[in-house]
Every structure is written in structure tokens, then in C-alpha cells.
Symmetry: C2
Subunit: 213 residues, 2 copies
């Protein structure tokens, strides 16, 4: 792997584990066993690494979020889709950890993060609308707006929320919890004949919980 790529991957790892604000450029170089000079040859310090990691996150999450807008998913695939979204956010979780502070420091990322939030809402709306049209959920247009906001907020803050409660939750369990929490927002809208799909998600989630404890 090229040095440039190794710097990015090492930074991502350290930022995620220790929190971006606690990691110095020197520490990244030390972790890689390269000189600070070599690191500076590729990036002018941590402040240049963060936007590049954000680029990647933005690119990946955008293509994930656009898929269900372009082609409606089956009910089951919506459920898997949630896992894919949570995995992506987990991979770049340092961004979400001190979001306000990070976005205050990088003004240009603020607008781009807002756009990602808007895209999350569009995707949530597209999914809800498709489920409504297939008569899987019984909901009106106006309620979809609030529901899409709640889904977007859960996708954005679930992992932070859960780690504030108990910091030792294994990451794959965080994703199970997050995906089920989103499903539970949809639950009261499921029509009778699709209720068993939700019960299946619930059973699947209970199994995941048991495996951990």
C-alpha cells in the first residue's frame, strides 16, 4: 500500500478510536513508523487529512443513499439497506462524534454535511412513499415528513446516543439496535398483512441480543 493511502487509513483508525481532537499529526506518524517530515510531504498535517477522509465518506454515503431513490427496494432489502448505512457511518464514526465542533472548524464541510442530511431525508421519504404505495404501511403524506425526520435523526445519532448510555456495546450490536430502532418507527404504520415482517425483524434482533449476552 502506498504511504499516502496508509496515512489516510491510519488516521481514520486513530480518529475513530481516540476521537479526532485527541490525535496529533505526530502520533499518526509514530503509529506508522514514518518521520513527521515524510507525513508532511503527503499532507500538511491533520487539518489536510480530515477533508480528504470526509470526501471519501461523502462519496460512499451518497452513492449508498441514492440507490433506493433511483430504484425502490423490496421490503427485505430496505432492512438490509439500514445495515449498510449504519456500517458506513460506523466506519467514519469520528465525524459524528464531535460533529458540531468539527463542522465549526471546517466551515466548508458544514454545508456538505447539511447536504448529506438532506439526502438522508430524501432517501427516508422515498422509502416511506414506496412502502405506502405498495400498501405495506398505512400513512398519509404529511405524516411521512415527520417520520422521515425521525428516521434521519435515528440514523445520524443512534450510535452516539447508545454509546452515551453504555460505552461498551460491541459495534455490530450497535448496528442491530440502530436498524431495529428505525424499524420500530415504522412499526405502528404496518398494515395487518405485513405485520409479520416486523415480527420477523423483532425476532432477528432478539437473537442478536442473546448472542452477545
Amino acid at each position: 500500500m502506498k504511504t499516502r493511502e496508509r496515512i489516510l487509513q491510519t488516521s481514520l483508525l486513530l480518529f475513530n478510536e481516540e476521537g479526532e481532537s485527541h490525535v496529533t499529526t505526530l502520533e499518526i506518524a509514530n503509529e506508522m513508523n514514518i518521520s513527521p517530515g515524510n507525513l508532511y510531504y503527503h499532507f500538511r498535517g491533520k487539518e489536510a487529512i480530515i477533508p480528504e477522509l470526509f470526501d471519501r465518506f461523502e462519496h460512499e454515503l451518497t452513492s449508498i443513499l441514492k440507490a433506493p431513490i433511483e430504484n425502490p427496494l423490496s421490503l427485505e432489502d430496505n432492512w438490509f439497506f439500514l445495515y449498510v448505512v449504519f456500517e458506513e457511518i460506523h466506519e467514519y464514526r469520528f465525524i459524528y462524534r464531535n460533529l458540531s465542533d468539527l463542522l465549526q472548524r471546517f466551515e466548508v464541510l458544514h454545508r456538505r454535511f447539511s447536504r448529506l442530511l438532506d439526502l438522508k431525508r430524501l432517501t427516508a421519504k422515498a422509502i416511506c412513499t414506496s412502502l405506502m404505495q405498495k400498501q405495506i404501511i398505512n400513512i398519509d403524506e404529511e405524516e411521512i415528513t415527520q417520520l422521515a425526520d425521525s428516521i434521519t435523526m435515528t440514523i445520524t445519532f443512534w450510535m452516539n446516543f447508545q454509546q452515551l448510555r453504555t460505552s461498551e456495546t460491541p459495534s455490530h450490536l450497535l448496528m442491530h439496535q440502530g436498524a431495529f430502532q428505525v424499524m420500530s418507527l415504522l412499526a405502528p404504520y404496518f398494515t395487518e398483512q405485513h405485520r409479520e415482517f416486523y415480527d420477523g425483524c423483532h425476532a432477528f434482533y432478539q437473537e442478536a441480543l442473546k448472542e452477545v449476552s
Copy 2:
């Protein structure tokens, strides 16, 4: 007002407006027109001010959250109660702004914040259970757990979420939005004869939106 109290109130104001990490002890003294020495006589810097502000927040929010556990509220009062909670969080919003970072720096506050989250969940559960018993909402015990989590997350992160989307929302509108967003989580569970209460909340919220635009 005594100097000690003025230091606390000035710090709270600056932390809320600029973000705690961007405010220095010197800036607090300058803002008050007192010498840094005078400030240090009362508090050994910013690091001593933060826990004292947290004490106040914890004390106030705890007594707010305990009320509906001890005495179930009427349906209307639950709605006002949400405003009281959002107002309290808004008053100490610097705590929520970079929560992970703040709680990482003050290990002892982490446990206390987790306890506040647990109390929020207990309060949300008590309210849902009381509404269920009065047959205002139609829900089973198991669903209440997920719903209480969603309510707790909305109470905790709504203002952050909204400000990430559009930073210029006036604060009283943030509270209207937050309270209505929580009501919308309950909405699909309302029984037919209480549906009009929810419609009333919706109309009230629409009025608030109009006043702003």
C-alpha cells in the same frame, strides 16, 4: 449580583454562544471587566466552572423529569412538559453541543450524564404507560421500550440535529419543532377519540411556523 454568580452566568452565555471549546478563561474575565486574578480567586479556570454549571443543569433537569414519574400528568400537561424539558436543555445547550468530547474530558460527568439519559427514558416510559392506561394511546408494553428510546433520543439530539440542517432557526421555533416531533412519535398510537388532540397540536405547530416566516 455576586461576582461568583456573575462568572457562572457569563460563562454559560459565552459557552452557549461560541461553543465551550472556543471560550478561554481570559475571555470570560474580559467580558465581565474583571481581572483574571479576580476570576481565579473564585474558580481555578474554565475547568472548574464547567462542573458547577453541570451541577445546576443536573439538579434542574432531574427535578423536571421526576415530576411526571411521581404524578401522572394530563394529556395537555404532557405537551407543556415537553416545552419545559426543551427549554431547560436549550438553557444549557453547550453541554449537548460537543457532548462526546466534553464527557471524555470530564470522566465523572460521563456517568452523571448517562444517569440523566436513564432518567429521561424512565420519564418517557412513565408518560407512555400512563397514556396507555388511560386508553389515550393503544400500544403494548414491548413497543413502549422502543418508543421511549425514540422519545429520549429526540429530546437529547433534536436541537443539534435541527441546527446541523439550518443554523439560523430561532430558538423558540426549535422548541416548537422538538415538542411536535416527539408528539409525532406518539401520533400513530393515538386512539380514534383522542386523535383530535394530536390534530390540535399539529394546528398549533403550523401557527408557530407561520409566525416565523
